[in-house]
């Protein structure tokens, strides 16, 4: 009986062996075929055939060559067929191979199961834990481990990452900032909201005091601006820049300061990273409330969408980005300002504020300082306080000053409340901030800045205060203008005008220019006593800040940009 069993098992073994052999041969042949197939399709990618693209080029030259067309069609069909056939072959091949390998495995398993795995019991067992094994274990653990870690060490030493050296690049780049215009050049131009440094003072000017937009007196030119915007014109050299926008379009205009001709205009509707859907804004803010700025090399524009772009003076876009859709129920309106090679943005929203500094040449982020303040619509000023340059931001409840280079906070004073639109003013060691239903606060800069005095009547709602060496002047949206002693807070005078003010007073020489909502410019002496010099009509409503340069004033009305100068000097 045992013999019989042996016989059957030997027979089974032999059959299994033959099956295994056949399966192995088939599997091998199939493998070779599949490898060949693989290499072939790797060598010629049927879907990106060079032959077809060559023919296509030929077709471009002779578009009416029907024979060529037919050739392309035939070749294309062939290529597609080849591709899908190849896929079918590969799939079918692998299924077949799987079956063969399975058969091979089963027969081999059967064969191996017939073989005895019993130990040779005639010899005494050789234990696993022999001394020799232990010694080898130790040896190879030490060598292997040491080898591994030495290798790792060498690899670690050899690999260098440039990322660590970025700090060095940064220092180099800031050295380049030396090429930016100095304060005198800045003061000869009108580079930002409320002029040089954002401080509402016009330097080196000789402008007329009277004009009339209706009769055209002293109006050198006026041009319509196609898209609306409450932003104010800025000026560098002979070029004026401003923006206009509606819900669909955002445009930057460059206007020749001599002729009023639009030199170029650039639409900005394709900003990388811009979120889908424009934010909702109120009509009195609009999509183009923030004023542009320039550093004398490039101009920068931002819109209520958070779209930000940089152009050179010829209208070439250098960079553009979206800094995030502002969460702002009226519409983002804080204006831009630059400091050396940095573009600074006061970005206060309902969901937390930031002071953002971008590299003005590339748009790369230098820092974004998080601000624990409420939303605001004010614009920053960058002033040199004698010992250092500070960027001062008016916001609720803190007025905060930062180092513009690093974004490090220098000081803060808690004195504001409400929805803040007026920007700060600075003169002679004093910072003046105001908001309606809050106060006019004069902050004396010292080791720990404090509120030196405050005043709580006739407060300004939108218009920013003007600070001169001795005086502070603010204009309320219901028509009162108040003048104080800047140091003591003593009220010198209060004057009631007919109309309210959204524009801000600008110091031009010894006079203050202040335009009301209806576009009437009042010029009065910057003095302890109220002395009206003149009142001139623009002929249309205006809420922007005029730009002053040499003997010209540029005013953006509701629809037009006006250039005002002395007509007689023209000839």
């Amino acid at each position: 009986m045992d013999d019989n069993k042996n016989k059957t098992s030997r027979m089974g073994y032999n059959i299994a062996k033959r099956i295994a052999l056949v399966a192995a041969v088939f599997a091998a042949i199939l493998s070779i075929l599949m490898i060949a197939n693989y290499i072939q399709t790797k060598a010629v990618d049927p879907l990106n055939s060079k032959a077809i693209s060559q023919l296509m080029e030929q077709l471009q030259e002779n578009p009416n060559d029907t024979a060529l067309k037919e050739q392309i069609r035939a070749l294309d069909l062939l290529a597609r067929k080849a591709y899908f056939t190849h896929q079918w072959q590969l799939r079918t091949g692998s299924y077949l191979l799987f079956v063969f390998v399975l058969v091979l495995l089963l027969s081999l398993k059967y064969m191996s199961s017939l073989e005895s795995k019993l130990p040779d019991l005639s010899e005494s067992p050789s234990p696993d834990e022999t001394t020799e094994n232990r010694l080898l274990s130790r040896q190879y653990l030490i060598f292997g481990g040491a080898g591994l870690f030495v290798l790792a060490f060498v690899l670690g030493i050899l690999s260098q990452s440039e990322l660590k050296n970025i700090g060095i690049f940064r220092a180099e780049e800031s050295a380049k900032a030396a090429g930016f215009p100095g304060i005198n050049e800045i003061r000869d131009n009108w580079p930002a909201f409320r002029g040089p440094e954002g401080n509402a003072v016009a330097y080196n000017t000789d402008v007329p005091t009277e004009w009339d937009g209706r009769s055209g007196k002293n109006i050198l030119w006026k041009v319509p601006i196609p898209h609306p915007g409450y932003n104010s014109p800025i000026l560098w050299g002979k070029k004026i820049f401003l923006t206009g926008a509606d819900r669909k379009t955002q445009v930057v205009y460059c206007i020749d300061a001599e002729s009023g001709k639009i030199l170029w205009q650039a639409e900005m509707n394709d900003i990388p990273g811009a979120p889908g859907g424009r934010p909702d804004v109120t009509e009195d803010t609009g999509y183009a409330a923030p004023t542009m700025t320039t550093d004398g090399q490039r101009v920068y524009a931002i819109f209520a969408t958070g779209d930000l772009a940089c152009f050179d003076f010829d209208g070439n876009r250098i960079w553009a980005k979206n800094i995030g859709k502002p969460d702002n129920h009226y519409g983002h309106s804080s204006s831009l300002i630059t400091y050396q090679d940095l573009l600074l943005i006061q970005f206060d929203q309902n969901t937390g504020g930031y002071l953002i500094a971008l590299r003005s040449s590339t748009g790369d982020l230098v820092y974004d300082k998080s601000r624990d303040v409420e939303i605001s619509w004010a614009s920053p000023i960058v002033v040199n306080t004698g010992s250092r340059t500070e960027i001062i931001l008016n916001s609720n409840p803190f007025v905060v000053s930062y180092d513009p280079r690093t974004g490090q906070e220098l000081w803060r004073v808690k004195c504001m409340q409400g929805e803040i639109a007026p920007s700060p003013a600075y003169a002679d060691g004093m910072v003046y901030v105001v908001n309606d239903y809050a106060r006019l606060a004069a902050i004396k800069l010292q080791d720990t800045p404090v509120v030196a005095w405050e005043y709580i009547d006739d407060l300004s709602e939108v218009s920013s205060p003007l600070a001169t060496k001795n005086l502070v002047i603010m204009a309320a949206s219901y028509g009162t203008v108040t003048c104080f002693n800047g140091k003591t807070g003593e009220r010198y005078w209060l004057h009631d005008f007919d109309d309210g003010f959204y524009s801000s007073p600008i110091l031009v020489g010894e006079s203050v220019y202040l335009m009301d909502i209806s576009g009437i410019m009042s010029v009065f002496k910057a003095d302890k006593k109220f002395q009206l010099i003149s009142r001139s009509e623009l002929g249309e409503n205006a809420m922007t800040i005029p730009a002053f340069k040499q003997n010209r004033i540029y005013i953006r009305g509701e629809k037009h940009l006006f250039c005002i100068g002395n007509e007689l000097e023209q000839f």
């Binding site: 191996s112 094994n133 232990r134 481990g145």
Partner: protein, 450 residues
Amino acid sequence: MRQRTRLLKIIFVFFLLVVPSLDLSQVRERFPKPDFQTDYVRPNLITPATRSPILEYMDIFVLVAVLFLVTYSAHKQRSRRQIFLLMVFSLVYFGFYRKGCVCSVGAIQNVSYALFTSAYAIPFTVIAFFVLPLIFTLFYGRTFCAAVCPLGAIQDAVVLKPTKVPAWLANVLGVIPYIYLGLVLLFAATGAGFIICQYDPFIGFFRFGASFGMVIFGLSMLLLGTVVARPYCRFLCPYGVLLSWMSRLSKWHVKITPTECNNCRLCEESCPFGAIKKPSETVHLENRQAEIKRLAVLFVLLPVVLIGTGWIGSRLNIPLSRQHFTVSLAEEILLENSGKRTEMTDATTAFRAAGKPTEELFEEARIIQDKFKVGGWIVGGFIGLIIWIKLINAFIRRKQPEYYIDTGMCLSCARCFSYCPYEQVRLGIITPEEADKLGTRKVKIKQFRA
């Protein structure tokens, strides 16, 4: 209508000229949606659903069921045949039907990623696949490896002529899974990627399709697997590390003999994985004192080794962190910015088009590099510790008079059971008297085919 097409053509040419400078990811309505005059209805965009959640839960159910059955077969039935059939089922279900995803081995990465990335919500099924085998192993040994894991099953299927790997070699190679585990955890925790999946040798077979490198690696693993049983499980699998820890602590582990061992030696060669340890040699060492001294030195050096290996690990942060997309992108951008490379890659082009500030990217990359530094300390120290423990183990001498199972290595595959004469008694194949005689090694055993 002619005019309209001409107009479209003009617009088309205009866009050809102008648009390439614009960002392409913006979606705009360049052409108005048509008002159809005919009663044409716009077709619906068909969105095929994902695999139904019920099926996902069925995966968990199958996992639990198979774990249960395998454990029952190994512990109560003690049947290799049942385990083999269950293994084939797992291979078909988890391997060929579920295409190997998600598997418990890969789930380590999801767990590590979830623990360090709060934004990642780890699916319930993945947690189950990670935790359940560990719990089963803590109670019953590595029954999961025996017949549930598809990666183990496909290797088990090709075991033909297993040779014995020398104990010292197996011991030294046993370090590799720890290294692999360390790297896996590091890469997953930092979000650099799931390297188990990336270098899975067998998943290509389950899917009937893989990259060339994957096929080559998988085939060589399987070919090696014919002579070295389950090479991936023993010398690579990172999950096996965790399972072997659990298995060492397991409350009820399978035993070779149903009753008592009489050291008959018959099972000696039956384990293809080298998990059956023979009684240790009782040679007396001459230089016992020196050995003890060396052992003491090893213990004293342990902290130094940990700090050293940890430090080396932390130095590897730069090459390792390059596996992370953000870091490699940042380095590419930096190369391009510095003018050292003029050709842009797809990734840098995409990054630049998105308009994110490069400084931000560099900052992110530096943060990731720092994470790799911390992780490098831990992983380096961990690998150093493992090697040192293995070294210390090679010095400690334990008395081992009997055959025993290395529970860390044993996969509870039940191959050895039928070699035991008392098992054959239990199954009624031989009489207890015959079994007792086997102690004198004179009766041939009726061997089971397994």
